[in-house]
């Protein structure tokens, strides 16, 4: 097998695994840039995945066919945003410890999701969906030599994720909304003094992260696993947090890190069929993203500074 042939196999799989990581990491950036730690991303993805599958199954039975998974993505965004209120309200209004909340919400999400699945289907996991977002060869582009590795066997959601990364970058660094969001995350009191509504901005940050996290979970469910159970989302949310940190809270950095982590996941899953990589113990590929994140944080890969006020509830009038 030539190197190029290997890439033709690995790149499409890597893109499929990277897509939800990128989207969820973008969500994390919204929340953390506004000053709210979002450990709950994992749980939000669980809710998104459950919503995505349940909606797809329902819509398919109503006869919407191939459109159902696409609509389910939108539904998952709305449900994700609403679910993130479990984080937003206690964290922003009640001054609860955001990390603790995140852990509790992850627990809540998996409990609630499986509970609903059991109520609806009378079993611990859903059926497999009939219509998934399919792997396609992009017309014309998939005929270009070499570059075609990015356009064969690929889901359109992957391109959406990459475009979103640029959009989010623009929103955060080039619009008044982005400036306000960042100011609230760096120095809320200064922002408040300038007339920015800290509470409102933080709510928007968290709910945007909920929408993105819900979308990410649904994308993972309707492209990769195609059903929902308690082990559908295991660690993707935390991997997304890792990608966010590795990308230094920058959307384009998160895009790069997400692609890289997707690549690592792809290698750990299909690596045993590939030359050279099959000699690398699978466990090393599995732990690589997590170990690299620790190294990144320790400053080995360059400094990564979190927004200054992340994790600190803002109390008006307190200096």
């Amino acid at each position: 097998m030539s190197f190029l042939e290997v890439l033709y196999i690995v790149v499409p799989v890597a893109l499929a695994y990277a897509t939800p990581l990128i989207i969820a990491a973008l969500g994390g950036i919204f929340s953390e840039r506004s000053g709210v730690v979002n450990i709950a991303l994992e749980g939000i993805m669980v809710i998104g995945a459950a919503t995505g599958i349940i909606t797809t199954l329902t819509l398919t039975s109503m006869g919407l066919g191939g459109l159902s998974p696409w609509i389910s993505l939108l539904v998952a965004m709305v449900v994700g945003a609403l679910f993130s209120l479990f984080l937003a309200v206690p964290a922003i209004l009640w001054r609860a410890d955001q990390t603790v909340l995140g852990v509790a919400i992850n627990m809540l999400a998996i409990g609630l999701a499986i509970f609903v699945v059991r109520v609806l289907y009378n079993k611990g996991q859903t059926d497999f969906i009939e219509y998934r977002i399919a792997k396609e060869n992009v017309p014309i582009l998939s005929d270009i030599p070499v570059l075609r590795m990015f356009f064969i066997n690929v889901q359109y959601t992957s391109f959406i994720a990459i475009i979103l990364a640029f959009v989010v970058w623009f929103v955060i660094f080039k619009t008044p909304f982005g400036l306000r969001l960042r100011s609230v995350g760096e120095h809320p009191m200064a922002a408040d003094t300038m007339g920015i509504n800290v509470t409102k901005m933080r709510f928007m940050g968290v709910m945007l992260s909920g929408a993105f996290g819900g979308l990410a979970g649904a994308v993972y469910a309707v492209t990769v696993t195609t059903n929902f159970s308690g082990t559908t989302i295991v660690g993707q949310g935390f991997l997304a947090i890792a990608a966010m940190i590795f990308g230094k809270w920058n959307p384009l950095g998160a895009l790069g890190a997400g692609l890289f982590f997707g690549f690592a996941q792809a290698l750990s899953i299909i690596g045993s069929n590939l030359p050279v990589i099959s000699n690398v113990p699978q466990v090393l590929l599995l732990i690589a993203p997590y170990a690299l994140t620790i190294l990144a944080l320790a400053g080995v890969v360059g400094r990564a500074d979190a927004p200054k006020s992340v994790g600190i509830p803002y109390i008006k009038g307190k200096r």
């Binding site: 609860a96 410890d97 852990v103 409990g111 109520v119 599995l286 170990a291 320790a298 400053g299």
Partner: protein, 354 residues
Amino acid sequence: MNKLNFNRLLIPLLSILMGLLVGAIVMLIGGYDPIRGFSSLFDGMVGSPYAIGETLRAAAPLIFSGLAVAFAFRTGLFNIGVEGQVLIGWVAAVYVGINFDLPMFIHLPLALLAAMFAAAAWAFVPGFLKAKFHVHEVITSIMMNYIALYTTNAILRSVIGVTNERTESINDSASLASPWLQEMTQFSRLHWGVLVAVLAAIVYYYILQRTTLGYELRAVGFNKHASQYAGMSVNRNIILSFVISGMFAGLAGAMEGLGTFNGMTLSASFTGVGFDGIAVALLGANTAVGVVLAAILFAGLNIGGLAMQLGANIPSELVKVIIAAIVIFVASGYAFNYVIDKFKGNRKKGVEKK
């Protein structure tokens, strides 16, 4: 009882009530009968000697993981990595349990020590990184959880040689199992671990409240800068706190490996013991007694949940929702205090007006 102590008791109790209320609402929305649900839940928790045995059995690892989280909390650190440390402790205990053939009075302590020290070494990493590079311990310990999950599976496969998803059983000389306790509880899986756990809670209290080390650790938790000024080594205390926390976590794993399961199974996801430990520590307000009581409550809910599924056909996952709700309410203590103060303030004003 002064006001502080009163609120410290009131908030956990209110949170439990609110959590159960959330459970009842979810039951109603799901179309179930809450009264039937709660009665079968309660029955499954403490309704029979067997239920009590299983609840106490499940409490043992939770007491340890709760103490682990609480110990770090007391020194101002959040050890979210208990889950990973539990897995590492579990695998170490099982390794010693299977591969050595020694008299029990050496073998069992050796297996427990192995669990303690393996997990302590695992917990050393986030502590060291926090102390040396000021890396936030929450993120590093989450990452260490996943590294632990994949590493323990790899160790089980390649070092311990798992076939059929499960290790062979540990030797009897390393087992915490007790035929006497089992017989007394209608053959539940209750084992000596629960006594070891209560002993550990006493040790926890002793270290924190009665030793210089504990004083320093708490001081660093209260005010890092003041402690530094007073001549304590903050960095050393951060690392020590994580290492000791890891020791408790490792013993939680040993409870599962040497007590309940007599071995270990390959797993795609976490045990939940470590994450439940966070809930236990919070509800128990990081005190030894609180942790033991909270662990028994959550263990009972987990065990009763299974009975609820059988008895009232309500999915046992509801219990996770209840526990999560309790944690959210405990964490939102400020809101409670605010409401309580307002309530009291209004009443006081009313009295003054008269």
